[in-house]
Symmetry: D2
Subunit: 259 residues, 4 copies
């Protein structure tokens, strides 16, 4: 019997990250922060801002999966340490994307939650290595992956012994190109029915447009999402990555105020 | 300048159907009823039920666009008259799908709102004929149509002189097959930004599963939809069409109660 | 039992259009001509050119299904008559797209083969009306239609009494946007296995790029296609429609020479 | 300037694997063998068979990327050694899929060509590690990856210093489910125009059906493919993996005879 299924476990799983609880008392859990860690100063400004607005977890990538080898690849370990420091300073747990088993020890030391990105959803080697740890995991759906493949990727983690899995719907690739991807709330709602794992949505990557993030964030929560992950930048037009889809601190504050 | 655009008209258009107003004071407008008109008795039972639950408009197809020529094709004109009668009896305006210019006069006589189905979104002949009437139109997005094509189909109606256009997002076709289609709320939210036309969502066709309809209905409203169209049947397992995606009267009542 | 199926009829159907035979002795059948009939002069130039290069049937639209109401909509009945005249002059049968039952009589009089376009594949009203005639039909697959829906659209024609059906794969809509559509030769080969109807491919619409048309045309024939329909224009850069995907007469001649 | 582009290098790249040359004198290069190495006996039977039929390279996976953690994961290093031995015995170079940097040394020792599978096309860690070797690479397109992403994944290899890159189109994920994937020959032909890298096609994974493999294999070559990779099994119904899409040795022999 598949471990992700409600046939295996009817009641919701809750995943604790520091004092934050996915699928439990905090609903919705809001993860926020910049696409990528750019500098200590940038990160602190954003960290203070999202904390003040009510976010529960700070995000920021230090290792970036970039389509082109010539794009900025992230600050690496240095960026990871900055993230940890910023999280401590503002009192928020931190999550960051891990792309390679090689850096697993560093991630275990410096972050509170590991993110497996959409491009690595079926990097089975990475899944197996992480399944042997006890660190909470945010597993993003591949942009071309079916619900079944998504849940079976989670199964690799559960089967290996790591039960702290939070799923994330981040948009799928469709013929429609007016937005970057298509947020698939059908699948999110279906997964809530069939699986006990918490699931959140990423309206930033799903839409690729800051002006659509609030509407889609609200829609995801209405569909049953246990939380959201949102890109926020103090100066989106200056961001090294994904500026178009980043909310300003002010926009994020307004969005949080309405929740 | 395109007439559907907010550059042409910044403020929202409201479309009146009887005393119901899309994009205006009634928010959300709820259209409900069976997939297809099966008999006077069936229709009246459902009409009374959805009216009691708070629906604003009664739906029911008399002419059915069926993938197979051997599937039930609808009761035709007889069904249209039953729909009109049921609407009058319970005090709800009615909407029904028109598939052919041939029956336009009959539709103008018997229904309060014309529905152009997904398969006919680019039946330009039908669009042009309907653009010459003053009857409110519910224009559904084709399952393989882009946002631009959808809005330009509406433009055929506006350009021809009919400004009473309500759009309907009903799910697009994607690689994901765990649900019948993928409700595209990205596009719905984008259309709210760029067009002044009202837009509703059809969570029944978008999901194909009654157990997902409430969650996706709520999500659509949270994304900014001006209303919903929902299939309701007093005995879904006996329905001649789309039973799997129809709410029972009880389920519909519960859903409406929570709105 | 479905009439399109090889279970119903194991041997290939042949469809005769004038002296040309789809699925029979002419393999491959090449249909060529401009996207749209622009003038008598243009049409004759192209007609003479494609005839000389070895084409079997002349194409040209007089009624155009245009995404925007502001795009050129075709010359209408006048264009249809020009097409007939040009076909007679060069000695080729002609095919043109019919969008509305209203003009069926005119089409029956002026063309040798009716084309049902991708956007009208499920215009059941049109299918039913054409099924009552004896005119050969070229039925194009909808860009968002499954193989099953495509074959069931053909079934509407067969069931109504018109057995002269030639299918046409013209590309489906996918996430890949580097070409206009994605030519689906998997489906073409599958249909050759499961149906006795002839099927051709349209590499012009499938790719949207003249420089890819020859390669995809050859690929379609290698996959089992019974013919091709190719857009040819004497001055593609001046074409009123789809110039980017039109071969010049010289390019078409070269392509035909290599077949 | 991007290194994969014909702007960077107008003439075709040829990639040598043993005495076989992709993009050069051997056209088409045929890679054949079982989905997975099951046993020495199985492998030898198939290796002798495909060699006799004219294949140029032997394939066989020892490490399998399986959607479910409960599916057979391959024989691992033991399987890799069997493959090397079988290749030597019949005189064919061998290619096998590498999923993890951890085993790179073993692959460098035991195989003639590394395969990067569709799920790992954007495993940038793996790409970077392999870019530092001189081993020829077969890079498969991700099933949800665009042409641009595919070519930029190749760029990671080229930029890192490994110029022996052969691309492989293996089908993309679309709404059409009558075949496992949709072979995208539009993209293959487009890549031939824009890139100097050799590209082959995988009709086995693209269709998922043995009865469609020959037609699509021929179509790919007609579209300009430099070769094919085909799954062959002596007893497809007994195969531990992908039996439905495997040709028998007899079918493979017949296919090669017609090339």
């Amino acid at each position: 019997m598949l471990k992700y299924s409600r046939h295996h476990q009817p009641e919701n799983t809750t995943v604790e990250v520091g004092t934050v609880s996915f699928g439990g008392s905090h609903k919705p859990v809001i993860i926020a922060g910049p696409c990528t860690v750019e500098s200590e100063e940038q990160l602190l400004k954003i960290a203070h801002g999202v904390k003040k607005a009510g976010a529960h977890i700070l995000r920021g990538s230090a290792f970036k999966p970039r389509t082109s080898p010539y794009s900025f690849q992230g600050l690496g370990l240095k960026g990871l340490k900055m993230l940890q420091k910023a999280g401590k300073e503002v009192g928020l747990p931190v999550v960051s994307e891990i792309m390679s088993v090689e850096f697993l020890e560093d991630f275990l030391e410096h972050v509170d939650m590991l993110q497996i990105g959409a491009r690595n959803m079926q990097n089975f080697d990475l899944l197996k290595a992480i399944s042997k740890t006890k660190k909470p995991v945010l597993l993003k759906r591949g942009m071309g992956a079916t619900v079944e493949e998504f849940l079976l990727a989670a199964e690799y983690l559960l089967e290996g012994g790591n039960e702290k899995v939070v799923l994330c719907e981040r948009g799928i690739r469709t013929f429609e190109t007016s937005t970057r991807n298509t947020l698939d709330l059908n699948s999110l709602a279906l997964i809530k029915l069939t699986s006990h794992l918490p699931i959140i949505a990423d309206p930033s990557h799903a839409t690729g447009r800051a002006d659509l993030v609030p509407a889609l964030g609200r829609a995801a929560l209405a569909a049953g999402a246990d939380g959201l992950i949102i890109e926020v930048h103090h100066q989106p037009s200056e961001a090294l990555c994904d500026g178009k889809q980043s909310l300003t601190l002010e926009e994020f504050g307004k969005f949080m105020g309405k929740l």
